[in-house]
Symmetry: C2
Subunit: 479 residues, 2 copies
């Protein structure tokens, strides 16, 4: 299968003109309020095209001239955003058809996901009208587009520097959380779309778009169900050979499936079949939003590991034991190092209260001077090791050595990374109980500035190594 370029969606993500229907300073609903923020916080500040508020009373909004109907706008309209009651959508869609609007995005909820036949019927009718009029629809029941390059956002505090991460989500809440949490891990975004009920544009369309979009290097998704499963998986098979695709599937349990139905009217389907599909198509399937974000972070910042054998550094005593347990429980192996490596490590690491077999407990002494770099290089050269998981208890460093100790650790780690051809996963625990949160936060910022991935727990770091190793294995099998 070859994927034709769906460039038509470029104009959705980077429209030249927008009509916001229902925009009014007086609206009181949360949904409306989000629509309002949309204009106030985001578009007005960053959008470089034309904005046309549309409101029955044609009251000027935020200093922009308002129109009573979309038909009155004296310009082409690329994208019309609906923040109006469900009862009004058919009328406005008719106006859009007459006007020749290219895309419609509906914040509006209360259609097929309500479980009521009459409302589901309106949604169907809406899509039929749009199709006939040549309009593509995003939603209803969704947050729409976030595209830094195009100047679009759906919350006022999204980050505006564009980057390589693409994301498509059936849930607006998950899309919003994804953006904020991923930004906190230093990620930046090409395009994010929340598409709700997927009445017209759906997963497969966005997947194909991201495949041909040169700005997008890695693709993530939150999905609840698929309407065109076969087409989606065919497309996935093509994309995963060039860009990694990481999907968090909601509705993994009986209760979750029930919740999916009243959320986006999707059918969650069997988890077993889903996981089998992912295995066959090279999709990286994850089980939480945090795992999704950290896997995407690793995919754009770390080399892929050749296998699942890890060296564990930075633990001590019981911590070394439990870190090893956690890594192996996630499907990794923490092997004894090569005898040659052990012998050389014993020359560097003082014998008392340390361990150099893996897990490594090298003591504080071996963290200073150039011992650290020597240790990392020995692990790099040990063929039994595919990846390094490195717990940095920076709160503890701060407590005993102040900021200089923290900075020293961070700079040394960055230097070691340059030298390494294996992935090194730096774990910074937020809640390590040693305090010094400011120092830890500053260190995390420094790592992200240097495009270094950080991980919030050993479990997540281990799961990410596994995800990357299995993706690498999939690619090798494809030849």
């Amino acid at each position: 299968m070859s994927l034709e370029a769906t460039h038509e969606l470029d104009r959705l993500f980077c429209p030249k003109s927008i009509a916001v229907v229902g925009a009014s300073p007086a609206v009181e609903m949360i949904m409306m309020d989000q629509g309002r923020n949309y204009i106030k916080g985001s578009i007005v500040q960053n959008f470089r095209g034309k904005i046309y508020p549309v409101h029955p009373k044609a009251e000027d909004t935020l200093g922009l001239k308002s129109y009573a109907s979309i038909r009155d706008i004296p310009d082409e309209v690329d994208l019309a955003i609906f923040t109006i009651p469900a009862s009004a959508v058919l009328k406005v869609m008719a106006d859009c058809v007459e006007k020749g609007v290219k895309f419609v995005h509906l914040f509006t909820a209360g259609f097929s996901e309500s479980g009521r036949e009459a409302y589901a019927e309106i949604e169907k009718k809406l899509v039929r009208m749009a199709k006939k009029g040549g309009i593509r629809v995003v939603g209803p029941n969704c947050m729409g587009i976030f595209c830094p390059e195009g100047g679009l956002a759906f919350q006022p505090f999204f980050p505006y520097a564009p980057g390589p991460t693409g994301f498509f989500s059936q849930s607006g809440q998950m899309a919003g959380n994804f953006i904020l949490k991923a930004a906190a891990k230093g990620l930046s975004f090409s395009k994010v779309v929340s598409f709700g009920n997927a009445s017209d544009l759906s997963s497969k369309d966005f997947l194909k778009y991201f495949y041909q979009d040169e700005k997008t290097k890695v693709v993530g998704s939150y999905l609840e169900g698929l309407k065109d499963g076969r087409e989606f998986f065919e497309a996935a098979k093509v994309i995963t050979r060039e860009k990694p695709l990481v999907i968090y599937k909601g509705g993994r349990t009986e209760g979750g499936s029930r919740a999916v139905k009243s959320h986006t009217a999707a059918i969650a389907g069997s988890l077993t079949i889903w996981e089998a599909f992912c295995k066959q198509t090279g999709i990286i399937s994850v089980k939480s939003l945090d795992e999704l974000i950290l896997t995407l972070s690793a995919l754009q910042r770390l080399p892929l590991p050749g296998g699942k054998n890890v060296a564990i550094i930075g633990g001590a005593g019981g911590g070394s034991v439990t870190m090893t347990d956690m890594a192996e429980a996630e499907g990794l192996t923490v092997p004894r190092l090569s005898e040659e490596t052990i012998t050389k490590l014993e020359e560097i690491v003082p014998p008392q209260g340390t361990s150099v077999k893996n897990p490594l407990d090298v003591g504080l002494a071996a963290m200073g001077g150039d011992s650290f770099m020597k240790i990392i290089n020995l692990l790099r050269d040990d063929p039994k090791i595919d990846a390094l998981i490195f717990l940095q208890q920076l709160g503890l460093f701060r407590k005993f050595g102040g900021r200089p100790a923290v900075n020293f650790m961070v700079e040394m780690t960055l230097k070691a990374r340059d030298n390494l051809k294996k992935p090194m996963l730096v774990v910074l625990e937020k809640d390590d109980a040693f305090g010094g949160e400011d120092s830890v936060k500053a260190a995390e910022g420094r790592y992200h500035d240097e495009n270094m991935a950080t991980f919030s727990s050993i479990e997540l770091a281990a799961r990410v190594v596994k995800n990357l190793a299995e993706y690498q294995q999939y690619l090798s099998n494809q030849g």
Copy 2:
């Protein structure tokens, strides 16, 4: 079986006089340094008994008169703490026997856990000497005692208010992390002991002690292996009927077991057998330090649930779906509420964009006024619900409603708790990406002051509900 009172250990936790052997401002090793902090940071400030530094050169330490040998101390010695090289321990133990010391605790490492026969032999000899001389030994290779009531600690920043939590740990590092992390969740401690190689006093002894110790209401433990498995489980069976016992077992995997051997020379044993033992004896078996702490927190602050059916509140959209998935993946059920409850909820919660069937997405409107209390009361009275998991995105509240919104939520939750006979698990995500960390931290502090448990993730809250429900089930089966 009846457990005889092992009051003899009272004097270990609350000694009247201590000798610190090896104490000197000049010692350079980390282990020694901890020994030094022990005196400087903790004992001198809080210990109300006598302290006798012992050092070959008899240099006065921190203003305390020093002695060249323990035999020179002109007083009884309840506890002698060794911070000396392994090569010196037999000589000092001989002095202790001669002096009639009651307890010896050895920080000193480098014995059986080293894997070297000669050093293991010293450990055996040490214990034989002690036994003959009537001395009980803690360690070697451990951090010893933390007992606020007795004024003992092994790190200078431990909290000094005594409380109901007892803990015994084979790992000193895990004991230290446990204390700091549990304190951050508002827990306080009766006695904590790190006992390392367990050459003499071992798990079973501390378990029996906690059984009869009136100050201890809940018991936690980190274990790597058991030397007297049968006796331990017999004791566990008795204690769990009166005090909950939560154990985190290290060495759950092949790699972890290997790490255990070089850590405390213990044999980790089969995980399957361990889990079966726990089931039979009512021990709550956990898989991480965080789960251990949060389970202990819940056990002392929440009523036990009658089953595993939970109501989920505070999610929205995709968040409701994924919270439900997480709860059910941990073994809980998120059932549809009773029809009666649903009907009554529909009178309170506005219909647009909400869901009242469970998971509950009640919208912001229903969080205000007395709607919230009505909702909680309806869930309290629904026989299909055993426990409530309540995600509070306080960072989001802070962003949109400022501190007053956060405070309102917290006070309303505390009020609702008084009314409720089911456990309500409040989840505060540290990393919710909405910022307002100070507000969240303040709210968490307020909850802990009011003896309300907080949970750092949905997964952990779900796992704790499961732990509590299974413990309740075990107790019921015992009749």
